[in-house]
Each structure stands twice: as structure tokens, then as C-alpha cells.
């Protein structure tokens, strides 16, 4: 138990269990397979973003531009698919992945070659990507998409008393993305290097870790995940809207940092991302089931995060002293 409490992920897991327990008492629809399959589908895009962002945060950077980059990927992928005459899922993943990685590489190149801080670069590219996207598309929606892209693909379904429980493509891709990220940061040398670099860039550099490689790997991974998340979001909502993902960057950032990733580098985990994203999604889902006005959702979530921050750090900071306040962003 003390070990569980010592990590952010452990405390978050306890909070999540308590919230789930309260909600399952308050609403009989909450603890059902059908509701959980809905929750997973609704969180898929955010979680794919989150596992990309956590890699950047671990490496000591921050990315504000990824959600807008995903919208750029959606538009460019539509045009690329038209150029090859419709394509299929293989082409979809290929184009979205490559374009996403390309946009991530733009961020990485500016950060690495010109020694600009990542928050400056990504705020600049956020404005550049979004402004150019709106300028060139004129803010037009695209409904005329290839059938395969918007078609629901169900991997697994089960009839339950409370409705169909199913696992659709975004859910599966989310699981694959989370597993791949977990493998990258926990099971490879590159992953160890990312943690080391984020914790102490100068120390890592002197150990012989390539600063350029770390920057490019982190931001290209983020770009890849942004591209895939963009692809999945289209599968989920069946349209391409230039401003659909605008503002998502801060929601995802809040969820990932809530999950224990440190702004300033060296800390963060896939489990934390999952818990952070799920906690926000579950609170929203619970409020919905309890019949609370949708206008109040954000208020409750904001208050909850504020409360969680205020209570989570107090005792532990005082117990173990303030080691490195992580003010670098």
C-alpha cells in the first residue's frame, strides 16, 4: 500500500477506483460492458494523442501543436488518397503516419538546429499550422470521404442486457498505440535514453546520448501518434472539420500531467496516460449518466483536477522534501 501511494500512478488508480465505485452505486448503467465500450471508444483519440505527448514530456519537451497537426494530417490525407484513387486502410495509415511524422520533424528540426525551446516552437507552429489550414481550406468541411475510412469496423461484439458492447477499430488502434509506446519507452535502449535525456540533458549529452536523435525521436513519435489519432477521429465522427481538434491539446496535456508526467522531463508513463485520460472521461461519463447538465461538465472536471493537484502533492512533498521543483517547461 505505501508503495502504491508513493507513485502518482498509484494514487490516481486509487482515485479512479473510488470514483468508479461511487458512480456504480449512483447509477445502475455505469458498471456495464456497454457503457465501458462507449467510454473506450470515446477516449480512443485522446489516448492516442496522450501516449504521443508523454514521450515528448519524458524527453523534457512540450508540444502544443499536435492537435492542430492532426487536423492538417486529415486534410492532407484526404488529398493524398484522392491522388491514389481512394486507397484503403494501408494507404490511410501510411499517409497519415508519414505526414504526421513530417510535421513532428518540422518541430524537431526547429528545436534542434536553431536551439529554440520546444514551447516557443510549438506555439509558433500551432499558429502556423492552424492559420495555413484555415487559409487554404477556407474552413470547409469534407463529408465526401472514402467508404472504408468512415465505415465502422467491429472486432468484437457482445449482446448484454444494457445494450451492445463492442470493440471497434479506434479502440484496437488505441491499444496498439499504447502497447507500442510502452515498448518504446520501457523496453528499448532508446526509451532509457529518452528518460535520461529528459531528466538531465547536459548529463545525458556527456554520456554520449545524441541530443538530435532524442529530439527527433520524441517529436516524430508524437507526430506519428497525432497522424494516427487524426485518422481515427475521422473514422469516429465521419467528417473532416478543420477546427474539430482545436483546443484538444490542452485537454490532453492536462490528462497526461495528471497521470504523473513531469513538465520538465524525466518522468511519465503509459499507465499514467491511460489513468489520466480515463479519469477525465469517466467523470464526464458519470455526470452524463447522473443527468447533470452538460454545461456543468467542464466546471466539475476543472474543479476535480484543481482538487486533485492541491491534495496529491501536499503530504508527499512535505514528507520527502522538495526535490527539484520541475519548473522548466
Amino acid at each position: 500500500m505505501p508503495r502504491l501511494l508513493a507513485s502518482t500512478e498509484g494514487r490516481l488508480a486509487i482515485v479512479l477506483v473510488v470514483v468508479c465505485a461511487l458512480l456504480s452505486v449512483a447509477s445502475d448503467q455505469f458498471l456495464t460492458f456497454a457503457n465501458f465500450s462507449n467510454l473506450l471508444a470515446a477516449s480512443a483519440v485522446n489516448l492516442i494523442f496522450a501516449v504521443g505527448l508523454v514521450v515528448v514530456l519524458i524527453a523534457g519537451g512540450i508540444d502544443i501543436s499536435f492537435a492542430v497537426a492532426a487536423s492538417v494530417v486529415q486534410y492532407l490525407t484526404v488529398f493524398a488518397l484522392q491522388a491514389v484513387g481512394g486507397g484503403n486502410w494501408a494507404f490511410g495509415f501510411l499517409f497519415a503516419g508519414v505526414i504526421g511524422i513530417g510535421l513532428g520533424a518540422i518541430n524537431a528540426a526547429l528545436i534542434y538546429y536553431f536551439r529554440i525551446i520546444s514551447i516557443v516552437v510549438t506555439i509558433a507552429t500551432f499558429n502556423a499550422f492552424f492559420g495555413l489550414l484555415m487559409f487554404f481550406t477556407g474552413g470547409k468541411y469534407i463529408y465526401d470521404l472514402p467508404d472504408w475510412w468512415t465505415h465502422r469496423i467491429v472486432f468484437f461484439e457482445m449482446k448484454t442486457p444494457s445494450g451492445w458492447a463492442e470493440l471497434t477499430l479506434p479502440g484496437v488502434v488505441m491499444i496498439v498505440a499504447a502497447l507500442a509506446t510502452w515498448l518504446l519507452i520501457n523496453r528499448t535502449t532508446t526509451g532509457r535514453q529518452l528518460y535520461a535525456y529528459g531528466d538531465n540533458p547536459e548529463g545525458a549529452r556527456r554520456e554520449g546520448i545524441s541530443v538530435g536523435a532524442m529530439t527527433f525521436i520524441a517529436f516524430c513519435w508524437m507526430g506519428l501518434m497525432a497522424g494516427i489519432a487524426g485518422l481515427m477521429q475521422v473514422n469516429f465522427v465521419k467528417e473532416v472539420v478543420p477546427s474539430a481538434l482545436l483546443g484538444r491539446e490542452l485537454d490532453v496535456l492536462a490528462a497526461v500531467v495528471l497521470g504523473g508526467a513531469r513538465l520538465g522531463g524525466g518522468r511519465g508513463s503509459v499507465l499514467g496516460c491511460v489513468l489520466g485520460v480515463l479519469l477525465v472521461a469517466i467523470i464526464q461519463n458519470g455526470l452524463n449518466l447522473l443527468g447533470v447538465s452538460p454545461y456543468a461538465f467542464k466546471m466539475v472536471i476543472g474543479a476535480f483536477i484543481l482538487f486533485a493537484i492541491s491534495t496529491s502533492n501536499i503530504s508527499f512533498r512535505k514528507l520527502f522534501g522538495t526535490a527539484g521543483n520541475g519548473r522548466r517547461a
Binding site: L110, I119, V120, A124, N127, G131, L132, I301
Partner: protein, 327 residues
């Protein structure tokens, strides 16, 4: 010649000089591109548009100088505007008197300061990261505002408020005068007071500042309270400019204010940065936007150009220091 350059540089700072050069280039380019650019009318409209973004940027500047960030500024400003609007409505809407307006402004300032105070307390005493705290506050304030207004507009204010958004004194727009006054107060606060000095020290090195006997927690709390107060001023000016309040007015400004600070040479890690270059950076952004508007581009292209301009400036700065011009 070089001696004269050095003397001017030492007087106003290399940062200001560089940005003024950018400003001259941008103004010259647009003057050649369109005859409608170099007119009183155009500069009048720039002078009216600048203050909203400017006041919000001042609210963002101080937290950044201390090594933090305040992502709640736009919604705090909306919420303060909402407070003023609500008090005016209670006192008769269009028929509300000066007394109600002053009361409302007082309440708006108090609400802004209170929002900042809560953030400051959490950041200072819990030790949580400012980005996370202000992000949570942003989500909360936005939600609260949307909950109270149901996402709608509030309008119908007494006519005597309009000059605050649209009036002029001695040929200078009143919003611009408010912005200049606020910038002057910020300048004095940062350069001439103990609190300002502590803010810079805090941004450079929090632990060292604490060991040198400065009450860092109280300073951090005050920094965010003042930031909230400036948001309230922005909220009041925005209410008068739009003649209505809606949660979400100006939310696109949020990241632009950060962009303006970085463009003005503020160190993203805190500790370094001044009011004057940030004000010039704001002017450059506004001139770019209105110039592009006159040559037929829309606001979205301006947004893109702002982003690209920041990248260009950072790359030039990199080259400048790399090849030894900085010293």
C-alpha cells in the same frame, strides 16, 4: 557611427532596437504594397485593436517572468466581464447608473484577483506546476462561465460605457490609453519595486531566491493575483469593445499572448524580459495583421504569419548569437 549605435543600444537595449528594426521593415513593406496602409485611418484601427491583446499579454508576461505560465487569462477576463455585466443587469441593464458601473468594475477586479489568488496559492504552497494549475483553473472558470450563461451572450449595457471601448481623448483612443497606463504600471512594478525584483529573481532561480531571504511563496501568490487583476482590466475593456460578454470571447488570444511575450524576447524559463520590447512585439503583430488585411488576406493567414514570424525571429536571434553579434 559604431560608437553612436553602442550608445543607443545601451540606452534602450539591443532587444528593443532589433524589434524596432523589424517594425520599420514591416511598415515599409506594407506601405509599398498598398497605399491604404500608411494612413491615419489604418493606424487608428490598429490603436483600437491593440489594447485587448495587449492587456492580456501583460497578464501573461508576469507569470512567464517568474518561470511559470497563466493559461487561464482569457477565461478569467471573460469571467470578470461577466461579473460586471451581471451587476449592470441587476441594476437595470441599459438604465444602470455610474454607481452600478463602478461597483461592477470593483467586483470584476475583485473576482479577477481572487481567481489569480487561488492559482497563486496552489502553485506556491502545493508546489504544483503553473501550467497544470492554470490549465485546471482555465477548464474550471470556462465551465463555470458556460454553466451560468448557458453559452449565450449577455448584452444591453448603459451607453456611457461605450467610450471606454470606442472613445478618444485628445485624438488617442481610450482603450489605448488604458493599455499604456497598464503597461506603465507594469514597467514601474517590474523595474522599480521590490516585488518586481523578486519576480525576476524567482524566474532565474527559485531556490537561490528562497535562500536569499525572499518570501518566495508570498511573491508567487502576488504574481498570480496581479495577473488575475490585469485579466479583469482586459475583461472590462473587452466588454466595452464588443458591447457584450460571452464566455469564449478572445479565447484565440491565449496562445498569441505567449507568442507576443516570446517575440518580445522574454525568456521562456523566466528571469529575463521587459515590458517595452513586448509592447513593440504586440505592435508588430497588430501591424502585420492589419497590413495583411489591407492586401486582402484574412485573419487566418495573419495567424499563420504570426507563427512563421516568431520562428523567423527566433532563427535570426540564434544566428545573431551564434556568429557573435550579441556581445
Amino acid at each position: 557611427m559604431i560608437e553612436a549605435y553602442r550608445r543607443i543600444r545601451d540606452l534602450v537595449g539591443a532587444e528593443v532596437l532589433g524589434l524596432l528594426a523589424f517594425l520599420v521593415v514591416v511598415v515599409a513593406a506594407f506601405s509599398l504594397a498598398t497605399p491604404r496602409f500608411l494612413t491615419g485611418e489604418n493606424f487608428g484601427s490598429i490603436a483600437f485593436q491593440l489594447p485587448e491583446l495587449g492587456l492580456l499579454t501583460l497578464a501573461m508576461l508576469v507569470p512567464i517572468l517568474s518561470g511559470g505560465l497563466n493559461l487561464a487569462i482569457t477565461y478569467t477576463a471573460n469571467f470578470c466581464g461577466l461579473t460586471l455585466a451581471w451587476i449592470l443587469q441587476v441594476h437595470g441593464g441599459v438604465d444602470a447608473g455610474i454607481g452600478a458601473f463602478l461597483l461592477g468594475c470593483g467586483a470584476a477586479l475583485a473576482v479577477g484577483a481572487a481567481v489569480g489568488l487561488v492559482m497563486g496559492l496552489v502553485i506556491a504552497y502545493v508546489g504544483a506546476h503553473p501550467i497544470l494549475v492554470s490549465l485546471a483553473m482555465m477548464i474550471f472558470i470556462r465551465g463555470l462561465g458556460e454553466f451560468l450563461t448557458r453559452g449565450g451572450d449577455i448584452s444591453g449595457f448603459p451607453t456611457f460605457i461605450q467610450p471606454i471601448g470606442h472613445g478618444s481623448v485628445l485624438g488617442l483612443p481610450i482603450p489605448l490609453l488604458i493599455f499604456l497606463a497598464a503597461a506603465a504600471i507594469w514597467y514601474v512594478m517590474l523595474q522599480r519595486t521590490r516585488h518586481g525584483f523578486s519576480t525576476y529573481m524567482l524566474g532565474s532561480n527559485l531556490e537561490a531566491t528562497r535562500y536569499s531571504g525572499i518570501p518566495t511563496r508570498r511573491t508567487i501568490t502576488l504574481i498570480y493575483t496581479l495577473s488575475g487583476l490585469m485579466c479583469a482590466v482586459a475583461g472590462i475593456v473587452m466588454l466595452a469593445r464588443f458591447n457584450s460578454v460571452r464566455v469564449g470571447h478572445g479565447d484565440a488570444y491565449l496562445l498569441i499572448t505567449v507568442l507576443a511575450c516570446f517575440l518580445g524576447g522574454v525568456d521562456p524559463f523566466g528571469g529575463f524580459g521587459r515590458v517595452a520590447p513586448v509592447a513593440i512585439a504586440l505592435l508588430i503583430l497588430q501591424v502585420l495583421s492589419s497590413g495583411l488585411n489591407l492586401v486582402g488576406a484574412n485573419q487566418h493567414l495573419s495567424t499563420a504569419v504570426w507563427g512563421l514570424f516568431l520562428i523567423a525571429v527566433m532563427v535570426i536571434r540564434f544566428g545573431w548569437h551564434r556568429f557573435g553579434f550579441g556581445r
